[in-house]
Point group: C2
Chain length 181, copies 2
């Protein structure tokens, strides 16, 4: 979901120019050459969960690009009008059809290269039966040793899983903040 440059004004359809607005802003924005509407572009949040049952975590095998066939945690773009926790829970239902109790925030990862912030919550599974959605080939539980570490779709997922298992070993779950190159 890397976006191409804005070419036309969302308000009137006229061509825009990237320039410094006249309001003291220090960044170039797409400014309409007719109605002067300023178009702001900002980072996106990806929200998801680490669903766990005993010593196992739930991973989903991706049925969509990018990284088709790789394993991931249930997660997706946060939508308008929802909280981070609501978005994380929604994605867990949509992608895994899991039943769970949402718990605390586990990780906040900035990925400036793609202008994203990923937030993962813990989710205590209340069933080991899943109904994967169309974006998921398979949803399956893995112990730490079973996790297909070389087949994880995204670094934010890998880092979050590693910190979750580290915390479990230590017996104390924290909130992890991390930047991904």
């Amino acid at each position: 979901m890397l976006r191409s440059p804005i070419k036309h004004c969302r308000n009137c359809g006229t061509v825009v120019a990237y320039r410094l607005p006249d309001d003291g802003d220090t960044r170039e924005r797409a400014v309409c050459t007719s109605c002067a509407t300023i178009h702001y572009e900002n980072p996106l949040n990806v929200v998801g969960t680490v669903p766990y049952l005993g010593d196992r975590v739930l991973l989903c095998k991706r049925n969509i690009e990018p990284r088709w066939g790789k394993w991931t945690l249930p997660a997706g773009f946060m939508e308008l009008g929802e909280t981070t926790a609501e978005g994380a829970a929604r994605e867990t239902v949509e992608e895994a059809g899991a039943q769970f109790q949402l718990e605390g925030l586990l990780s906040v990862l900035s990925v400036p290269r793609v202008s994203q912030v990923h937030l993962f919550y813990l989710a205590r599974l209340t069933s080991d039966r899943f109904e994967p959605g169309i974006e998921t080939i398979e949803a399956r539980l893995f112990t730490e040793a079973e996790v297909p570490w070389d087949e994880i779709a995204f670094r934010t997922v890998r880092e979050t899983l590693m910190r979750y298992f580290d915390d479990r070993r230590r017996g104390s779950i924290g909130v992890h903040t991390l930047d991904i190159d």
Copy 2:
């Protein structure tokens, strides 16, 4: 920064229609009636700091709307290409001209009514001299008793400050997640 509905396609300028895309999406998006570009709209992150020096925190008196003249923590919209921590530090420089060492994440607050997520970091001030930017009338240090609680610009700021002072009293700073109606 509540945005008006998209009227024209960012790619070709043609009128859009809000409808379900054909890709299995479950939400209505602004879809171009000519080139079929789908326009996604997502929540925005506001990033800022709680700058502290001893038992005092730095607040900024707003020189911009909304809430002109009210007190706030340095914070603003996260920009493309930066991490949450970088954005929080940038805003602290821009709005307060403060010198500080950025520390850990303190609060993550969802504000679904306006589709925003606010993230505040701790910032240990290394000087009590400030050079407020054009968006700030005055930057000043306050003890908890001195904070103008009834003149705080935003609930996310008020809640973050309350949790900071609570944590200080307990001698343990945590990461607070909170939803604001």
